[in-house]
């Protein structure tokens, strides 16, 4: 398979896409080989998802063209993309939880009889057939809300299969899956390939890419920096191209925090699971750990391990937790965000757009949000303080009065860090500190955080990236299904041990047996 000369089915030629303040794709040419698994690799913010959204008709390119079987096509809407046989399974699952599997498979393209009535029996039959083809038969009338993430993905794959997709885009399909679920997805991909479908596959996980991929394209900062067939590709090859020279050569100097006094002591932190769709909450079981002043503690874990829940409990936005939080020797009673802020704990949330920025406001107003005091605002004092922080954190903008949306991802992130620093905290929490930030800004964020820690701040961050955890953390806690499964110091850390500790031992789509606590310390 790998050696066979392959044919280009789809080519995105010289695609350029700009967003305010940033170029997401810079004359990118991406070739898709027929009936192969085409892997697209790149760090967060490299432009992978943007490119896929353009292929799927969700967004329009500013420049460049798409060629299908050598002929130029226009893809201005998902519907048009589907008519060319291009379908996408989004990173954020787009199943409708209030509908059942069969309704989801036919959402927006319902089969009708008598011109107006939905033909449920026909939909159910075809849904069942599509699921059988994927070797994952499921009752088609099961509400999507009751399905595991893995099963929802199967349902989406079935939808694209039924649409007669020739090219299927899978955008980080395994990021939320357990190992067993991911395995079954790989079988599905093999089946699809056998059925003649071309796959475009995006993931961060090198192991599965090397396992699945036939053709590899590497994106970095909106440019293609490598293209090769499986035979020429090694782990080394990918990592070198992904990181460029900027990140890979960087050696962090770490000040051992051993001598520093304890800042945060967490004892027996537990949180009950809640299962509503929108705000599903992973449980936490009896977490205990300490954090010293001047220390950067990383929490590594897969999606759903409870990373966000841990940080949000400390930050006061999940007040229903049990356990003790002691900061600087004082036991805290945190039931609101305001309590946490008052105690000196601030959080930079994971999702900047959803949880961080007020898009209507200026950069200055965003940074000073929540730290206004007194009855009247003092514009002069505020501007002075914000300018100072913007300088310290190197926020690149020509005017702090511009809307915050004009900043690039990295600078928006720095603005949110600045907002936290406005409150002079003693503990800074960061949830995925560099999500959607380009490689250069990433390194800069690490440098800034290191600088803040050196000044006496305690920093606790979570990450789903091994690379980031290794580069930033002095010490690492690994979370797995709401438990601390391992603790590592900076020196003990390797990719393999980290990943092994984070992966649940036994877990399938159907049984939710919790894994044994594996302690590495």
């Amino acid at each position: 398979m790998n050696t066979a000369a392959t044919e280009i089915v789809l080519e995105a030629r010289a695609i350029t896409k700009r967003y305010p303040g940033t170029i997401a794709l810079d004359r990118v040419t991406f070739r898709v080989h027929r009936n192969q698994v085409n892997v697209l690799i790149g760090e967060n913010g490299a432009g992978k998802s943007t490119l896929m959204r353009i292929l799927a008709g969700v967004e329009a390119a500013d420049e460049g063209e798409l060629l299908l079987d050598g002929a130029t096509i226009s893809v201005r809407s998902p519907r048009e993309a589907a008519s060319h046989g291009i379908s996408i399974v989004h990173q954020e699952l787009s199943t409708l939880p209030n509908l059942d599997i069969s309704e989801n498979i036919f959402a927006g393209r319902e089969l009708v009889k008598a011109a107006i009535l939905v033909d449920r029996p026909a939909q159910d039959l075809r849904s069942a057939a599509a699921l059988r083809k994927l070797r994952r038969p499921m009752p088609v009338r099961t509400p999507a809300a009751q399905l595991s993430l893995g099963c929802r993905q199967i349902a989406e794959a079935a939808r694209t299969l039924d649409q007669g997709a020739r090219i299927l885009i899978l955008d980080e399909p395994t990021s939320a899956l357990s190992t067993a679920e991911a395995d079954s997805l790989f079988h599905v991909i093999a089946d699809l390939k056998r059925a003649g479908v071309t796959i475009i596959y995006i993931s961060h996980r090198l192991n599965e890419l090397l396992h699945l991929g036939d053709c590899f394209t590497v994106l970095r900062s909106g440019r293609v920096v490598g293209e090769a067939l499986r035979a020429e590709v090694s782990r080394q090859w990918i990592v070198e191209r992904m990181s460029g020279n900027a990140g890979a050569g960087e050696v962090q100097t770490r000040v051992p925090a051993a001598g520093a006094p304890e800042l945060l002591v967490v004892k027996g932190l537990s949180l009950a699971a809640s299962g509503t769709d929108e705000a599903a909450q992973a449980p936490l079981h009896d977490l205990s750990f300490t954090l010293h002043r001047r220390e950067i503690l990383g929490v590594y874990g897969l999606l759903g391990a409870g990373r966000t829940e841990l940080l949000e409990s400390l930050a006061g936005s999940r007040p229903s937790f049990a356990g003790q939080i002691i900061l600087g020797g004082k036991q805290l009673h945190i039931s609101t965000v305001a309590d946490a802020v008052k105690a000196g704990i601030v959080l930079v949330p994971e999702d900047r757009q959803r949880d961080g920025l007020i898009p209507e406001m200026s950069i200055r107003e965003n940074i000073s949000l929540g730290s206004e005091t007194g009855f009247f605002l003092s514009r002069a004092r505020e501007t002075l303080r914000v300018r100072e922080l913007a300088g310290e954190l190197n926020i690149a903008t020509r005017d702090l009065e511009l809307p915050v949306t004009t900043l690039s991802g990295g600078n928006q992130q720095k603005a949110l860090i600045a907002r936290c620093m406005m409150r002079s905290p003693s503990l800074l929490l960061l949830d995925e500190p560099t999500r959607g930030v380009d490689a250069v800004a990433k390194v800069e964020v690490y440098r800034i955080l290191r600088g803040l820690a050196a000044k006496g701040l305690g920093i606790l961050f979570t990450s789903s990236e091994i690379e980031e955890t290794r580069m930033l953390a002095d010490r690492v806690l690994v979370l797995c299904q709401g438990r601390i499964s391992a603790k590592f110091s900076f020196a003990e850390l390797t990719d393999e041990t980290l990943f092994a500790a984070a992966s649940p031992a036994v877990s399938t789509a159907h049984s939710s047996q919790s894994s044994e606590l594996r302690s590495h310390d």
């Binding site: 967003y19 959803r354 949880d355 920025l357 007020i358 009855f375 605002l377 300088g391 005017d399």
Partner: protein, 360 residues
Amino acid sequence: MTEHLSSPGRSDRLATSSVRALLFLLRARAVFVLLLLLILFSALAPSFLTANNLSILSKHVAISAILAIGMTFVVLTGGIDLSVGSVAGLGGMVAGYLLTQGLTFGGSVHYPGVLIAILIALAVCFAVGLLNGWLVAKAGVAPFIATLGTLYIARGAALLLSNGKTFPNLGGQAVRGNTGFPLLGQSFLLGIPLPVWIMLALFAVVALVAAKTPLGRHVYAVGGNERAARLAGIRVPRVKLVTYLVSSLCAALVGLIIASQLEAAHPATGESFELNAIAAVVLGGTSLMGGRGSVTGSLIGAFVIGVLSDGLVMLGVSEFWQMVIKGTVIVLAVAIDQLQSRLQAKFLPYLLSSSPEDGQ
């Protein structure tokens, strides 16, 4: 840092000046519409610009402007207050009841003074605002539903007070020591009706709070991104509660002013006023999604609506056509608002095209 904050070159400014001009025209459209209407009506109706007419006009405007000013904060947080018309009716009725029926305790009837009556009326309406705020901020009821409920509750309460009848003769009696209520709506200060002064004072206070205080900033933040505001440590429920209290108090004032002007409290006072207030807020450029808009805009919006309806009456346009025209203006205003935000989003990258390298 200083090189990042350097100002753009002259040529860039020239290149973007036409875009800026267009955006400015769109943003200030309510003012232009108001000027246009004033010119149009003064040309078509000779009596439009007389002192007498302007005095009447300003009283009408004051009523919808006070409601709109109060409504602005609610809408800025992404909420809506449908109860203001009923609350106005209730406020007038409470004052009317106290001034004409008095309070009975110990077998004898006591008549509270005008000031006490006004304060009690305000307090009752404050309670309705408290209920609105509690329902929205604490109980998590959608603002539309919560205030629809209190719309009925307040109206029902107003009707119950008089069993559906009007309280006439609010002028009071010297014997009872409760004269002077009509002064609120009918007196003049420096030749300008008192309600207009009340409107201006409220405008000044609310605009100041919006622009210069943490509370104002938080109102915008909650409307812009409620989750982010909460995670930034803003007490979102408290902010929302305050907005509904402001709205109800403004509505109460309107009810009192109307009762004072008529020297009678009618339980149906204020019906459909909420729609006028919302229309004024929206005309002024405040987004119903929250986070964007201004108190000044609402004031201008109220002027547009007031001038439009009074002018059409003077021109002898039929009442039915008035409704069609008013509706058209409102819909057009919102459509242009959408156009403006789309254009702004589209042109922003070009306005910033001269910015230095931006991190990516």
